[in-house]
C-alpha cells in the first residue's frame, strides 16, 4: 500500500475573464472567484480512486500559498484526501514563487512523510509553467512520467500511459515515482456539500518554507504584466473584385 502525495494550487477560476491591473504589476485577484487548478483536481481524483481500490493507504494534499490557499486544500479534503499540508508563503514572496521553490518544498515533504507516489497536475492554469513535476523528480532523483492519461499501480511499480504527439507511450516506473496528470486521465468528482462539511474536521498541518529549509526570497522582479494583443477589427468589402484585390495586396492569392 502506497502513501500518495498530491499537489494542489488555488488559481483564478477557469471561467473568470482575467484582467490586468492598470499599473501592470499583475492581474486583478481581489474579489475574483478562485478554485482549485483543474489539472490538480484530476490528480486528486486519481489518488482518491487509488485509495478506493485499496492501492493507497493515505493521501496527503499539499499547497503553497497565502492563507486563502487553504480553500484548495479543503476542496481536496472534501474529494477524499486524508490530510492537508499548507506551506504558508504570502505577500511579495508568493508573487515571485517559482516552480523551483515549490518542487524543493514538495521534495522535502515527500521525504518527511515517506511518500511512495506523487501525483501532480501537469500545469497550473494561471502561470502555465509545467515544470513542478519535472523539477521535483530532479530533486528527489525519482522516476517521472508526465502527461499521464492512465495509471495502473502494481506492487512495487506503476504503469503509466502517457499522452504524446500522435499517440500513447506506455512506461513502467519503479516506486517511488512522480506522475503528472493530463486532462484525459479521469473525470474529477464534485465536492458535495456534506463532504465539504465533513472535510472541516480533517487535519491541516501548517508549515513555513523555513521549517523545511527552503529559501523563497524573491530573486526575480516582475517588470510588467500586459494584455495579449487584441484582434484587429475586420473589414466588410462591397464585392468580390475588391475582395480579390485586397487579398492580392496582402499576398494571399
Amino acid at each position: 500500500m502506497a502513501r500518495v502525495l498530491v499537489g494542489v494550487k488555488r488559481v483564478i477560476d477557469y471561467a473568470v475573464k482575467i484582467r490586468v491591473k492598470p499599473d501592470k504589476t499583475g492581474v486583478v485577484t481581489d474579489g475574483v472567484k478562485h478554485s482549485m487548478n483543474p489539472f490538480d483536481e484530476i490528480a486528486v481524483e486519481e489518488a482518491v480512486r487509488l485509495k478506493e481500490k485499496k492501492l493507497a493507504s493515505e493521501i496527503i494534499a499539499i499547497t503553497c500559498g497565502p492563507a486563502q490557499s487553504q480553500e484548495a486544500l479543503r476542496t481536496a479534503l472534501a474529494m477524499g484526501v486524508d490530510k492537508g499540508i499548507h506551506v504558508e508563503v504570502s505577500g511579495p514572496e508568493y508573487e515571485t514563487l517559482q516552480p523551483i521553490h515549490v518542487s524543493k518544498i514538495l521534495a522535502k515533504i515527500a521525504q518527511n512523510e515517506k511518500i511512495d507516489l506523487i501525483i501532480l497536475g501537469k500545469q497550473a492554469i494561471d502561470d502555465d509553467s509545467n515544470q513542478t513535476a519535472q523539477m521535483t523528480s530532479g530533486f528527489l532523483d525519482w522516476s517521472l512520467a508526465t502527461f499521464a492519461s492512465k495509471i495502473e499501480k502494481g506492487e512495487k511499480d506503476v504503469t503509466v500511459t502517457r499522452d504524446i504527439d500522435g499517440g500513447h507511450e506506455v512506461v513502467t516506473l519503479k516506486l517511488p515515482a512522480i506522475v503528472s496528470a493530463d486532462l484525459r486521465l479521469n473525470e474529477p468528482r464534485y465536492a458535495t456539500l456534506p463532504n465539504i462539511m465533513k472535510a472541516k474536521k480533517k487535519p491541516i498541518q501548517k508549515l513555513s518554507p523555513k521549517d523545511l529549509g527552503v529559501d523563497t526570497t524573491p530573486r526575480i522582479k516582475i517588470i510588467s504584466v500586459e494584455d495579449p494583443p487584441t484582434r484587429q477589427a475586420g473589414q466588410i468589402v462591397p464585392d468580390v473584385d475588391t475582395l480579390i484585390a485586397k487579398l492580392k495586396e496582402k499576398g494571399h492569392c
Binding site: 471561467a15 483543474p38 486532462l183 458535495t192
Partner: protein
C-alpha cells in the same frame, strides 16, 4: 431521514451547486426558490417522493454539466485536436 429533512438537504445542496451557475448565483437562487415555493403546499407523500427524485436528478445533471463545461473549456484552451 424524514421527507422534510431530505427536502431541506436537497435545497441546501442545490444552493451550493448554484454558486457555480454560469449566469450567476443570484439568478439560480431565484429560480430554485420559486421551484420549491411553488410546491410548498404539497402534502401527498408519494408526490413529494417523485419531486425528491426529480431534484436528485437535477443535482446529478448539474454536476455533469459543470464537469463537461470545464473539460471542454480546458480542451479548447490547451489542445488543438
Amino acid at each position: 431521514m424524514s421527507q422534510r429533512s431530505r427536502v431541506i438537504n436537497l435545497y441546501k445542496t442545490l444552493l451550493h451547486l448554484g454558486k457555480d451557475w454560469p449566469a450567476g448565483h443570484d439568478y439560480f437562487r431565484g429560480k430554485l426558490h420559486n421551484a420549491f415555493f411553488k410546491n410548498r403546499n404539497e402534502t401527498n407523500p408519494e408526490k413529494i417522493e417523485q419531486m425528491i427524485k426529480h431534484a436528485d436528478y437535477i443535482v446529478k445533471e448539474l454536476e455533469a454539466l459543470y464537469m463537461l463545461k470545464k473539460y471542454r473549456t480546458m480542451k479548447r484552451r490547451y489542445y488543438n485536436d
